[in-house]
């Protein structure tokens, strides 16, 4: 009986202890957009491409990637050029652009895409195994859980693009 004199209700720790929230966003898309911005610093476009807007066209329907590219364009420029992000889901929608990022879900053959940008100084960036050997200048690959990129200097040169040695040093070199 006496013991009960000293008993009173103990508070209860909040039952919600615990569950933190999952992060928002797509780290892979974020990283690729950082890489793509960096490519603009290590690759030299012909003089006639150094005025007006710097156009990055995304071919495909990768909303995460498009979102990250748009975020990047909001704050960054390429020299004095404003970055403009375009998006197309059709082959005909590929116009003149500085960088063409081909989303991995796109089923159009790379040959058709290359034909569309023929004669233009367009850096073709892909994300499927083997595409650096089939015409892409840069191809994102995964090595040891890490996002890396293959670089085919010949394919870049075909589109009048000069790649700095610093970028080559960081890339996985691929030759035709």
């Amino acid at each position: 009986m006496k013991r009960h004199l000293f008993c009173f209700v103990l508070f209860v720790l909040p039952a919600v202890f615990g569950f933190q929230t999952s992060p928002n966003g797509d780290t892979n898309a974020r990283l690729k957009s950082v890489f793509i911005y960096n490519f603009t610093r290590y690759i030299d476009w012909p003089a006639e491409y150094k005025s007006g807007d710097f156009i990055i066209n995304m071919y495909g329907s990768n909303t995460s990637m498009l979102s990250e590219l748009n975020k990047m364009a909001l704050t960054k420029t390429v020299g004095t050029q404003k970055i403009v992000i375009k998006n197309t889901t059709t082959l005909d929608g590929i116009g003149k652009c500085h960088i063409l990022y081909v989303s991995p879900e796109v089923t159009t053959s790379l040959a058709e895409i290359i034909a569309k940008v023929k004669g233009k100084a367009t850096l073709i960036v892909t994300e499927q195994p083997g595409l650096a050997k089939k015409g892409a200048a840069i191809n994102f690959v995964v090595v040891d859980n890490r996002q890396k990129f293959e670089l085919n200097q010949n394919n870049a040169a075909k589109n009048n693009l000069k790649v700095s040695s610093a970028l080559l040093a960081l890339a996985i070199p691929v030759e035709n």
Binding site: F8, L10, F11, F19, Q20, G25, D26, V34, K76
Partner: protein, 301 residues
Amino acid sequence: MKKISCIRTMMILMAFLLSSVSCLRAQSGIHYNAAMMFVQQGAIDSAKKEIDLHMKEAESQMDPESWYLFGFVYKELYKKYENTNFNSPYRIQAFESYKKSLSLDSNTARQKATRDQIRYLGGRFYNDAVTTLDTIRFATSVTCYQQYREAAMISDPGFDIKKKDIEFYLALASTYDAVYNIDKKKNVKYFDLTRETYLQVLSWDANNYTANYNLGLLFWNKGVDLMYDIDYDINLDSVMAVQNHSVDLFKESLPFAEKAYEIEPKREETLIVLSGIYYSLNEFQKSKAYQQMLDDLRKQK
């Protein structure tokens, strides 16, 4: 209400006195007797003056009854003046006095009365630990919890404290995480505290779902944050280095998330985290497999 409180005080003292060897003391116990009289009259401030004087006498230091009454008076002072003070010196003094009394006592009945008093204080420490467990007062909470813990172990030596420890440390880790999330750069040390606190829980209970899940999420979140903090203008070498660090964190998160899944495979949040971690690790097939499990689970509901 005051009357009930007075009756309760009297009953506690009576219980104590009945268990004491002598109710009244000789010449050396003048202040003790006066203090006792004031307690019975509810004049706790006067009781304090007398018991303070009594405790200055050398023989009081080795007398469990004196320490008990000293503790009792200070407990009443705490209730009267420092009821809302989470760091109440009166309460600490009362607790220390009861401990001292218990350490000197050989009278079983009186020991029980002392333990009851300590149990009461323990309850107050615990409630204050819960009340102050927020992003501002967590240090007070930890102190109060340690005092509760000690009180609980003394008042009920057979009490299994582990369950309470786990409960408290989970809540504490969550609070550290909240502090970290207020300003991740400024409060980076709270990331470590969150991690260490969850790991402490796992050292007690390796199969604790919450600790495993939250550690998985903690490392994953950190890896994601690093990726999102990459400045577009840093060079590619640095980008690669950040990516390496992130991947290390994603790999660190994986065993905890997988353990959480092993413990509770039907929890949606675990499947979301596992799918996310594998996606961040660029292991898309595994990511899709967990996403599929999540979709199937949602269809079943």
